[in-house]
Symmetry: D3
Subunit: 246 residues, 6 copies
C-alpha cells in the first residue's frame, strides 16, 4: 500500500487520522463529561454514576456499564426527526448503543466495581462521519473520569479498568483502503468497517459490511492493519488527554 | 421594592439578570445556530429551514415557525431518562415546545414568509433554571439568522419579522420578588412566572403559577414590572449580538 | 371600559357570564359527581377517592389531588379522533389536565388529607369554549363532595380545604375585552387569557397568550379586572350550589 | 320455564327487561345523539356523518358504518384507567366496538348510502351491566336519526335501512335463565349470552360464553327464546321513540 | 337437510370434516407441542408451563391457562404485516386469543392446578380457514401433554382436566349449511359460526355472525346440529391421538 | 490448529458443521419457502414477491430485498414474550433483520430486478444457536426460488443473482476456535463471530465480538479461516438443494 497517489478532499494521507481533541469537564454535573472532536464530528460523552445496578443484576456484586446514543436533529446536513417524537428508537441507534456498551464493558473489571452502574450518554452535536467510533473513543475517557471520581470519593480502591479502548472506521473508497472516513468518503465507500481495539492491541469488535461489492481476504487484512495503526495513535492521544505517562 | 436587604446565593440584586451570552454559528449545518448561556444554563438553539409547510397548511401561501425542546439526559444534577427511550414526550416538554413556537410566531410575519417552515430545536446541554425562557431568547436569534440566510440567498426580499422577542422568569422567594431565578431559587419559589415580551414592550405570553401560596394583585404587578425591565435588557443584548444599532 | 356599544352574539354584556349550573350527584358511583354547564359547554366532573397515594409520595403522610381531562369525540362541531385510538395524549390535553390538578391542589391542605388521593376526571360532553375553566370550577365542587364524603365516613375530621377556587376565560375580541368567551368569540380573539382565582381573590394561575397581536400593559390590567369580577360571581354560585351561607 | 319462584334483587321477573328510555338530541352537534338508559346503565350514543369513506373503500360507491366504544373512568364502582393514558385499547373494548359496527351494518343498505360514513360513538357514562347491548340498541336510533338527517338535507332519497336492530343479554344465574342481567347478576352468571336480533326476528349475532359451567342444548334453547322475546319488546320501544307507527 | 346435491370444491359432503392430524412433540422445548393440520390449515400449538401465576392471581392457590395467537406473515395468500412491526395487536387477534384461553379454562380444574400457569401459543404456519377452531382443538392436546408432564414430574397428582374440548366452524354458503369451512367457503359465507363444545357435548362458546344476511331460528338450529356432530368426531380424533381408550 | 483433543458435546470436530438440511416448498403460498435445519436449529424462511418497491425507491427502476426475523415464543428453553405483545421490536431483532437484508442484497442485481420487492420472513421454530446465520443460508434458497418463480412467469428474463451467499458462526470456546457453535457452546464462548461469505469466497459481513476477553490478531485469522471453510461447504449444500451442477 503506497499512499502517494490518493487524493482525499481534506488533503489527508490514506492512513492519516483527522485532528482529534478531547475537552474534559465539558458540562458540570456529569461525573465524566468529554466533548470529543474528530474533524467536524463532535460528540458529547457524559458518564453518570448510579450506585445501583439494573434489577436483573441485583445481588451479584457486579457492576454495569451501559450506553445510549443520539443525534441532535440538526447534527446533519438535513434535519432528521427526533426519535422521541417518533416514539421509537431506530434499529441503527440501537445497534450503536449496544456496540458502545459492549466495547466499554470489555475493558472494565465489572467484578471489581461492585453494584455500581456507569451510564454513558453519547449525544452527537455535529456529524461528519465516524460518530460511533468517536463516541467509543471519547466515552472511554468519560468512563475513566467517572470511575476516578469514585476512587477519589473512596467508593472504589482502584480504577476497575483492565485496559483502554478506542475505535476507528476504515473503508475502501474507489479501490483505496482509507483510515478514518469522513461523511463524504463514507457515502462513497464500497466497504465500511469499524474496529474497536484495546490499548494493548487486542480486538473487541470487528464489524465490516460490503455496501456495494464483497471484499477479498487481502482487502480484509489491509483494512485490519490500518485500523490497528489508527487505534495505536488514538490510544496515545487518550493517554495524553488523561495526563498519563505514555 | 428596595433591593438592599435580600441575599441571593450568587450575590445578584433582586432585579439583576445572570450573565447572558449568545454564540452564533455554534454548529455548522443549521441555517441559524446559537448557544445561549444564561449563567450555568446552556441551550443550543438550531433553526432549520425547510422550503415547505406542514400538510395542514399547504396552499395557503403562509409560512410556519415551530419548535422542539429537549434536555440531554445529564443536563441536570441527576440523570433523567431519555424521552425517546420512554417512547413518549412528557407533558412538560410539550408545554414548553408549544410555548416556544407560539412566542416566535407572534413576532414573525407568516404571510410574508411564503410556504417556508423554520423548525427550531432547543436542546438543553446544561440546566440551572430558566431553560424555557433562555430557549425563547436564544431561538429568536437563531430564527433571525435563518431568515436572514433566506434573504441573502434571495428567497425572501426582506426579513419577515414584526418585532423581536425575549423571555424571562420571575418569582417570589421568601416573600421577595426576584428576577431570573436559578434552579435553587426556582425550587424554593412560592410563585413562579414566565413572561414573553416583545422588543417594543408588549406581552406575548404571561404564565404564572402559585406553587405554594396564591398571590395577590400587588405581587402580580410587582412581578410584571420586574419582567418588563429584564426583557428590556435582554432585547438590548440580542441587538448587540446581531450587530444591530440599538 | 364602557359596555354600552359592544354586541355579543348571545346578547351578553362585555362583563357578563354565561348561565352557569351545577348538577351534583350526576352519576351514582363517584364520591363527587358534578355536571357543570356554562352556556352550551357541558363537562362531567367526577371525583374518585383512593385511600392511597402514588408510589413517589408514599410514606410522607400527605395526600394528592390529580386530574384527567378528555373530550368525547363528538363534543365538538366536527368529530375528533379519540386519544385512545391514537395511542397518545395530545400536548393540549396534558397542559389542561396539569392545570386542573395544580389549581385544585392550591386550595387543598394536602398535609391534612393523609395518604389519600382524589382523582378528578373531567369529561367534556359538549364544548362551546371555556372547557378548561368550566372543568376547574366544576371540579372544585366534585372535590368538595368527595372530601365531605370522607368526613361523613369519619376518615377525615374536617374538610382539608384552605379556600375555594374557580376559573374563567377573558380575551380581547375586535379590541374589546370580554368575559367568558364562547367558542365563536374564542376563535376570533386576539388575546386569550385564563385566570384561576381563589374565593378570597388571590391568583393561582395566570395564563395569557397573544394569538395574533401582542397586548399592552393596559390591556393586561383590564383583562385581569374582568377575571377578578367573574370569579367573584362564580364563587358565589359555587357556594349556593353547596348550600353554604354566603 | 316458570317465573314464580326466582327472586331478582330489583324484583323483576325472570323474563322482564329493566326500564328502558331513549333521549334523542342529547347533545347538539352530532347528527344523531341518543342517551340510552337501561336501568342504571347509561350510554351516550352519538352518530357522526362524514361524507367520505375510509381509504380502503374509496371508489366503490358504497357506504360504511363503524363504531367506537369507551367507558368513562368512573362509570363503574371502582375507577378504571383511561385507555388513552395506557396508550392502547383493550381486547374487550375492541371486541365490543367491532360487534357494534357489525350489528349496525347488518341492517344498513351500504350500497344505497353512497360514499358516506356514519361513525358511531358509544360512551358509557354509568355502567350496571349490559353496556354493549344497550349501546347497540341506542346506536340504532342514533344511526336512524343521522341517516334521516341526510334524507332531510336531500343527500339521500330514502333511509338506507333494511331492518331495525336491537340487542339484549341473557344468562344463567343459579340455574335460572334470566333476561337482561344487571352487573350483580352478570358477575354471578354461569353462562352469559348476548343476542343481536333484527326487528323482524332474525339473528345478527349470537355470542355465548360459559363462564363457569358449560351449558346444555336445552339451556341454549331457553336462553335463545328469552332473547327473542326481549328484542321484540325493545323493537317496540325503539319504534315508539322514533314515532313510527308500530 | 340432505347432502346429496351440494358440491364443495374439495368434494366433501356438507357435513364432512377436512382431514385432521395431530403431530405431538413437534418442537423439543415446549412441555406440550402439537402441530395440528386441518386440511391445508396448519397451526403449531405450544404449551409452556410456568410455576407461577400472573400478579393479579397470586396467593389464591389457583392456576391459570392463557393463550396467544399469531399468524406468520406469509401464512396467507398475500403477505400481511407483522403485528410486532405495527407495534400493536389487532382486534381480531385479541378476540381469538381470548377465545382460546376461555375455551381451555372451561375444561380445566384451575383449583386443582395450584399456582401454575400454562401459556398456550398458537402460531399459524399456513391458513386455509378455521385457524381459531383448529387452534383450540390442537391446543387442548398440547395442554393435556403439558399437564401430564407435571403429573409425571410429580408436581401434580392427577390431571386437572374436567372434560376435553374441541371447536369447529359451520356456516351457510349459498343457502347450504356446511361443516368445517375452508377459506374459500368462509369468504362466501352468509353466516359464519364457531362452536366450542366439550367431549361430553356441552357448549363452551357459541359465536355466530351474519356477514351478509341475518339468519332464522331454523338455520341456527341446523348449524348447531352440524357443529355438535363435528365436535363429536374431533373428540374421537383427540382421544386417538392421546392414546386414550375411546 | 489441530482438532485431535477438543471434545464437543455432540462429538463434532472443531471444524465440523452440524447436519444441515433444506426443505423447499415447506408452505404453499410463499413464492419461496424453505425450512432450514442446522442441527436442532429450525428456521422457516419464506420469500414473498410484491410487484412494487417501498415509497422511497419508486421511479428508480431498481428492486429491493428486505427481511424480517422473529422467534416463536417457545423456540427456546424458556418461553420469551412476543415482540407484538411488548409493542416494540428489540435491538437484537433489528440488528438481525438488517443483517439478513444486507447479506441478500449484496448478491442480488437490484438493477436487473426492476421495481419488485422480495420480502424475506425468517421465523425461528426452534433455536439451538446460529439462528441468524441459518436464516441467511436458508433465505438465499427461498430468494432463489422466488426469483426463479418470476423467471418462470416471464416477469424476469434471467435470475438477477450475482453470486450465492451463506453464513456461519465461529467462536473461541475454552481457548479453542470452533466452527458452527450450538447454543451451549455459544453461551460459553469468549469470542463470537459471524461471517457472511459469497459462493466465490468474498466477504459480505464480518461481525466479531469479544464477549469476555479481547482476541489477538492470530485468533482473528484462525476464526476467519474456519468460516471460509464452513461457507464453502454450505455453498455446496445449497447447490445440491437447488439441483445445480456443482
Amino acid at each position: 500500500m503506497t499512499s502517494t497517489n490518493v487524493k482525499r478532499c481534506d488533503g489527508r494521507l490514506e492512513n492519516q487520522l483527522r485532528p482529534f481533541s478531547f475537552q474534559r469537564q465539558f458540562t458540570k454535573y456529569a461525573e465524566g463529561s468529554v466533548l470529543v472532536c474528530c474533524g467536524e464530528t463532535k460528540v458529547l460523552c457524559n458518564a453518570s454514576v448510579e450506585e445501583r445496578v439494573p434489577p436483573f443484576m441485583r445481588g451479584q456484586g457486579r457492576g454495569w456499564v451501559t450506553a445510549e446514543y443520539s443525534m441532535l436533529p440538526r447534527a446533519t446536513h438535513t434535519r432528521s426527526m427526533r426519535e422521541a417524537a417518533k416514539g421509537k428508537i431506530s434499529g441503527r441507534t440501537q445497534e450503536i448503543q449496544r456496540l458502545i456498551g459492549r466495547s466499554l464493558r470489555a475493558v472494565t473489571d465489572l467484578e471489581a466495581m461492585g453494584e455500581i452502574t456507569v451510564q454513558i450518554d453519547c449525544d452527537v452535536l455535529q456529524a461528519d462521519g465516524g460518530t460511533r467510533t468517536a463516541s467509543i473513543t471519547g466515552a472511554y475517557i468519560a468512563l475513566y473520569d467517572a470511575l476516578n471520581h469514585l476512587v477519589t470519593k473512596g467508593v472504589l480502591n482502584e480504577l476497575p479498568l483492565k485496559d483502554s479502548v478506542s475505535a476507528i472506521s476504515v473503508g475502501i473508497v474507489a479501490a483505496n483502503p482509507l483510515l478514518d472516513l469522513d461523511y463524504q468518503e463514507d457515502s462513497n465507500a464500497d466497504v465500511d468497517m469499524n474496529f474497536v481495539i484495546t490499548g494493548t492491541g487486542k480486538f473487541v469488535e470487528v464489524q465490516g459490511t460490503a455496501e456495494e461489492e464483497p471484499f477479498s481476504l487481502e482487502q480484509l487484512d489491509e483494512l485490519r492493519n490500518l485500523a490497528l495503526q489508527g487505534c495505536r495513535e488514538l490510544t496515545s492521544l487518550q493517554r495524553q488527554s488523561l495526563d498519563l505517562e505514555s
